[in-house]
């Protein structure tokens, strides 16, 4: 007998450090209601501190958080009229990034500007446009309107915010990761397809309930139908229907994030639920909260993995995995100058997974769990 031959090379995990550049695109900062009260709000994003404030004219403005005079912290300042006043020497900055007034001086330095970001208020959410090249958002990359948002026929947003200490590529990878929905989230995918085109990446997923996971939302429902698209690098709209024995519950789930720095991001998710005969006002709100808590649990399961896993640029894949490399190629378009975006980053790509083999294995697990529970007398 010989020792194990050395002909098969050991596969190494390759990982460059996370990019220091931040993605070009619209990023949702949260609910407008949390920023629009006329006070300055500090946000750590894109590797810096920003000040968000609604000025007297009603616009929500975003500037770099530090005053160009002597570095005062504008997030500790005060909104005066249409300007943010620095707490240090009362210098006034307008939403266009210009110094409008230095109250104790004959004239303000007119030519100097501070960094400012383009904002958008839509469907009760606040968005900021980030572009390392400093260009305004082109019209083709807008965030679609959400039909149910703001409608009386739907609940208001139930919104959740949490900070995650890893690079935000991890959350985007989930778009193609069918198997983790079973192993991490206790769901049972039966149909899984991805389409990437332009700045949009879509995931179609149908799943069945998990009768073996007693006491969870996954055990109560028959399954889900989901169409989820990232519009740009960070904002996903998921048309998500939960199927129950008595009725379908139609929901829209937002899954979005903005980077704090290369190794942390703020993850946010929001849910609205359509009211129906089966779901009048109160019940729809309760459902939104219940589903929100279920989604929250899902993200906490992701976070537990992210906390401990390593970054990997060369994942080793089997046929039943999704198109990780093609997704990352698509994602790469947001990290280069517009002039360096190549055709293969934006050209259409489709990938439909055959769920037959995974499903056979997962049904075995479900059946074994059910058998275990009935032996233990819990069914």
């Amino acid at each position: 007998m010989t020792l194990q031959s050395n002909t098969e090379e050991i596969r190494q995990i390759e990982a460059a450090t996370a990019p220091s550049r931040f993605a070009r695109g619209w990023h949702c900062l949260g609910m407008t209601r949390d920023f629009g009260d006329g006070k300055p709000h500090g946000i750590n994003a894109f590797g810096r501190k920003l000040v968000v404030f609604r000025s007297g004219d009603g616009a929500i403005n975003i500037l770099d958080g530090y005053c160009r005079h002597m570095g005062g912290d504008l997030t500790q300042g005060e909104v005066k009229g249409n300007e943010i006043a620095c707490p240090f020497h009362d210098w006034r900055w307008g939403g266009d990034g210009r110094c409008k007034r230095v109250p104790y001086s004959k004239r303000a330095p007119r030519l100097a500007r501070t960094a400012k970001w383009t904002t958008l208020e839509q469907d009760r959410m606040l968005f900021v446009w980030n572009d390392p090249e400093g260009n305004p958002p082109p019209p083709g990359v807008s965030i679609p309107l959400i039909e149910g948002a703001g409608s009386d026929e739907w609940t208001d947003w139930h919104w959740y915010t949490t900070t995650v200490n890893t690079n935000c590529r991890e959350v985007v990878d989930n778009v193609v990761d069918m198997a983790h929905f079973f192993y991490i989230h206790g769901s049972l995918p039966t149909h899984f397809k991805n389409i990437f085109e332009g700045h949009v990446a879509t995931q179609y997923m149908n799943s069945e309930g998990r009768p073996d996971l007693g006491g969870t939302e996954g055990a109560r429902m028959l399954g889900t139908t989901s169409v989820a698209s990232y519009y740009g690098p960070s904002f996903m709209i998921d048309d998500l229907t939960y199927h129950y024995e008595d009725a379908d519950h139609q929901t829209v789930l937002i899954n979005c994030h903005y980077p704090i720095d290369a190794n942390s991001f703020v993850l946010q998710y929001g849910i609205i639920v359509k009211k129906s005969e089966a779901l009048p006002d109160d019940l729809a709100v309760q459902t939104a909260i219940a589903i929100g808590d279920f989604v929250k649990m899902g993200f906490e399961q992701d976070v537990a993995i992210w906390k401990n896993k390593t970054r990997i640029d060369n994942p080793l894949l089997c046929e039943e995995d999704g198109p990780v490399y093609q997704l990352r190629r698509w994602y790469g378009q947001f990290y280069v100058d517009v002039s360096d975006v190549t055709a293969d980053m934006v050209d259409r790509f489709e990938h439909e997974l055959d769920t037959t083999c995974p499903r056979a294995e997962w049904m075995k697990v479900v059946e074994a769990n059910m058998a275990g529970r009935s032996m233990a007398g819990t069914v």
Binding site: E14, A16, P144, I195, E197, V200, T202, V227, S229, I237, D313, N314, L316, L317, C318, E319, P323, V324, Y325, Q326, A343, D347, R348, F349, E350, H351, E352, L353, D354, T356
Partner: protein
Amino acid sequence: MTVWADNRLSDCPMATVTCHCCGGDVMVRKSSWNQTSVQWNTETSVRCLERRADNAIACSTRGVFLACAALSESIVDGVRRGDVPIVDEIAEPVKNVAT
């Protein structure tokens, strides 16, 4: 920046399929009868008639075009003709190491 390659493509690369409807070329890989990946290029996206028709009414799907039926048929034809291999049928019989 290093570009990493999908190890699955070295087992079985993509094959060219021409759509019988618009004449556009795509790259196709079939893992099984029910698993297909399709790489379009810019020219084919412009040529595709179904995509163009869909774009005119795309508001309902937030602008996402699901599939071109003519292209799907062309891919099936490509498999029947033997132009597009199916990984399941050419892979080594032992797929999982017994434990």
